[in-house]
């Protein structure tokens, strides 16, 4: 509960760069085994392609973000809208 104890490691842009590099390496690591594995499919053959779930995750989120952004133009109001 000491307020003077604080960590500001992320204030340094170099550290952020480090984190980013580690993150990219992790991404590559998760896709890499797909090229050597025999993958099972649930519904269609496309699921066995290397990086199918990676692409799925990325695209799903991209679509969700864009759709939300567009809906935001319709739905967002100022905070005092109901007052």
């Amino acid at each position: 509960m000491k307020t003077d104890r604080k960590c500001d490691w992320l204030d340094d842009p170099q550290n952020i760069r480090k984190v980013r590099m580690i993150f990219y390496m992790l991404l590559a690591l998760t896709v890499l085994p797909d090229f050597f594995l025999h993958k099972h499919t649930l519904f269609y053959h496309v699921e066995a392609w290397p990086g199918f779930y990676a692409a799925g995750g990325f695209l799903s989120c991209a679509v969700i973000i864009v759709v939300s952004k567009l809906l935001g133009f319709l739905l967002k109001r100022k905070e005092d809208y109901y007052d």
Binding site: F43, G56, C61, I64, E79
Partner: protein, 590 residues
């Protein structure tokens, strides 16, 4: 051992005695009651007990089977942690409301018949409202009022369904509904309102974020998960729940992304998570129902953990909007770690509790060949990581440093968070104890190399999307319109509209019947003879083709005769004779 006290009564008795217990001892009592209750539930053996008579029917207060026990366990575990988190509260008001609320939800879970279930259902609605009102702000009062109104409406649907059901079948027992008739649909509607299914979901995202710091944590677990329990018990395999569940899973994500208030983000993610459970109920196979129960179990724990970390931030900073928060990792590192464990668990990251429960539901859908359900749930899984897994910790603890230096949360809050975080990790690595209490035998293994790899890809690339699209996700100081618009704005518009229509009608009626008509009548009856003659003779003269000048002369003649009373006698006699002739004719013919 069904002759023991029903868990609900333990909480009710605790609630009644709590105000009498002084300061320090009360802190012990609030965690002792859930602990005692947990132990009682472990000792309960399958069967039923505590039968009583009401409305001429035999009702069952305690029906014990694997399903009710699983919910009983997690309800009491969560109560224990939530009360520990709330140990700093000096007044007993919130504790009493929370005890009644939790007790009623345990009562609902163990109730063996529809009438007992309904009674507990309503106690839950009322008791939980006090956890919102206890915030004592104008916003909370209004939100609490809207909250209880929606729940009373849901309760009425439920009650109407029960009455029709009893009338048509004569049975009061709460079992799976076999026929798809009106009573079953009304009961389903009542359950779905409590499960926060759109379009009846806005009560949750409207009211929970207005509750007190500790009230919010307690609210997240019970109302929606009691509804999930009742759906598992009453409506397994109803396909409509697949549709509702998929809609909820996506709906929660979109709104959570638009939202600025951190606790409202978490509120929307409850709707998203309950969507997964409803899909499990809709699939209806033993694996799916196991998945729904397991997911409810894990969800209650990690969601409470997330609300605790958000609650700790709100308690320390007094702020809950992402636009006001940021950079808190510097002074609240433990809260950050606990919050991240909750965030990873809700995202069903391998190694955390969500990963051993949610895939059960998805796999059950795959077994049934439900391609669309699988697709939506995978997309929603990616979206969960986006809105709850990263967005919540990122904007609260990292993002732009807003210069807040609140310091770490009080010790008892950290202990409560540690307890829940520990459970998240335990259930993630070693889910066997959870699988052992599920309603059906479990044949499921989450940790195959391929499945784990797929999940890691899905989640990490979702994170990539988050950081690449970060400019589009910047928080704005806004709110988003939800279905509560219809009773917040819509209600006002309706009021204004009815005001205009009905008060307009009233004014018009007043003008015509109270002023114009009496005026006319007075003028007419001042000299009725003249007006009567004019009324008949004017059209008659017009027909005869009299000019305006001649007409005016006739009018003047009528008026003069009337004022002087100088009618020619002949006409009067003629009229009298004609009248008498007509009367005698009528008389003789009759």
């Amino acid at each position: 051992m069904t002759e023991w006290l029903p868990p609900a009564l333990v909480f009710f008795i605790g609630a009644l005695f709590l105000p009498l217990i002084p300061g320090k001892a009360r802190k012990v009592a609030i965690v002792a009651v859930p602990a005692l209750c947990f132990w009682l539930i472990t000792a309960l053996e399958p069967g039923s007990g505590w039968h009583y008579q009401l409305l001429g029917r035999e009702l069952t207060l305690l029906r014990v089977d694997r399903l009710s026990k699983a919910f009983g366990y997690v309800f009491t575990i969560n109560a224990f942690a939530a009360f520990l988190f709330a140990a700093h509260l000096r007044s007993w008001h919130q504790h009493v409301a929370a005890m009644f609320y939790i007790g009623a939800s345990l009562g609902a879970v163990f109730a063996g018949d529809l009438i007992s279930l309904y009674l507990f259902w309503e106690v839950m609605a009322v008791a939980s409202t006090f956890l919102i009102l206890a915030r004592r702000s104008e916003k909370a009062y209004r939100a609490g009022f809207r909250y209880v109104m929606v729940h009373l409406f849901g309760g009425l649907c439920f009650l109407a369904g029960i009455l029709l059901h009893i009338h048509s079948t004569g049975a009061v027992g709460f079992e799976a509904f076999a026929d798809r008739s009106l009573p079953a649909y009304l009961i389903l509607l009542g359950f779905l309102i409590n499960a926060a299914a759109p379009p009846f979901s806005a009560w949750l995202s409207d009211a929970y974020p207005e509750a007190t710091v500790t009230g919010g944590i307690i609210l997240t677990a019970y109302t929606t998960k009691t509804a999930v329990y009742t759906l598992i018990r009453g409506f397994p395999g109803w396909e409509i729940l697949l549709v509702v569940g998929c809609v909820m899973a996506l709906y929660g994500i979109v709104y959570a992304i638009l939202e600025n208030d951190m606790r409202r983000i978490l509120a929307y993610s409850i709707i998203n998570q309950v969507g997964f459970m409803l899909c499990g109920v809709g699939i209806g196979t033993t694996l799916a129902l196991n998945g729904a129960v397991a997911h409810a179990f894990c969800h209650i724990i990690y969601k409470a953990l997330l609300w605790m970390s958000a609650g700790a931030v709100l308690y320390m900073t007094g702020k809950s909007k992402c636009t006001d928060l940021g950079g808190l990792y510097k002074t609240m590192p433990f809260t950050l770690i606990f919050g991240c464990i909750g965030a990873l668990a809700i995202s069903s990251f391998p190694g955390f509790s969500g990963y051993t429960s949610k895939p059960m539901i998805i796999e059950a859908g795959v077994h049934e060949g439900l391609y669309w359900v699988w697709l939506v749930l995978e997309i929603a899984s990616a979206g969960v990581f986006l809105h709850a897994g990263i967005k919540f910790p990122y904007f609260v603890f990292f993002a732009k440093d807003k210069g807040l230096r609140p310091g770490e949360a009080p010790l008892h809050m950290q202990v409560a968070m540690f307890f829940m975080a520990f459970l998240c990790l335990l259930l993630g690595f070693y889910p066997q104890p959870l699988y052992a209490i599920l309603p059906f035998p479990v044949h499921f293994e989450a940790y195959t190399f391929e499945h784990t790899l797929n999940q890691l890809q899905l989640l990490l690339f979702s994170a990539l999307a988050f950081f690449l699209f970060l400019p589009m996700l910047k928080r704005t100081a806004t709110i988003s319109l939800d279905t509560d618009w219809f009773y917040r704005k819509g209600g006002r518009l309706f009021y204004r509209w009815t005001d205009r229509v009905f008060n307009g009608l009233n004014n018009q009626a007043d003008k015509i019947f109270m002023r114009r008509l009496p005026d006319l009548a007075t003028r007419f009856f001042r000299s009725p003879g003249v007006h009567l003659q004019k009324l008949i003779l004017v059209p008659y003269y017009r027909l005869q083709g009299l000019g305006t000048v001649a007409l005016r002369q006739e009018m003047e003649r009528i008026e003069r005769r009337a004022t002087e009373g100088s009618y020619p006698v002949g006409v009067g006699v003629l009229l009298a004779v004609l009248f008498l002739a007509a009367m005698s004719l009528l008389f003789f013919m009759g």
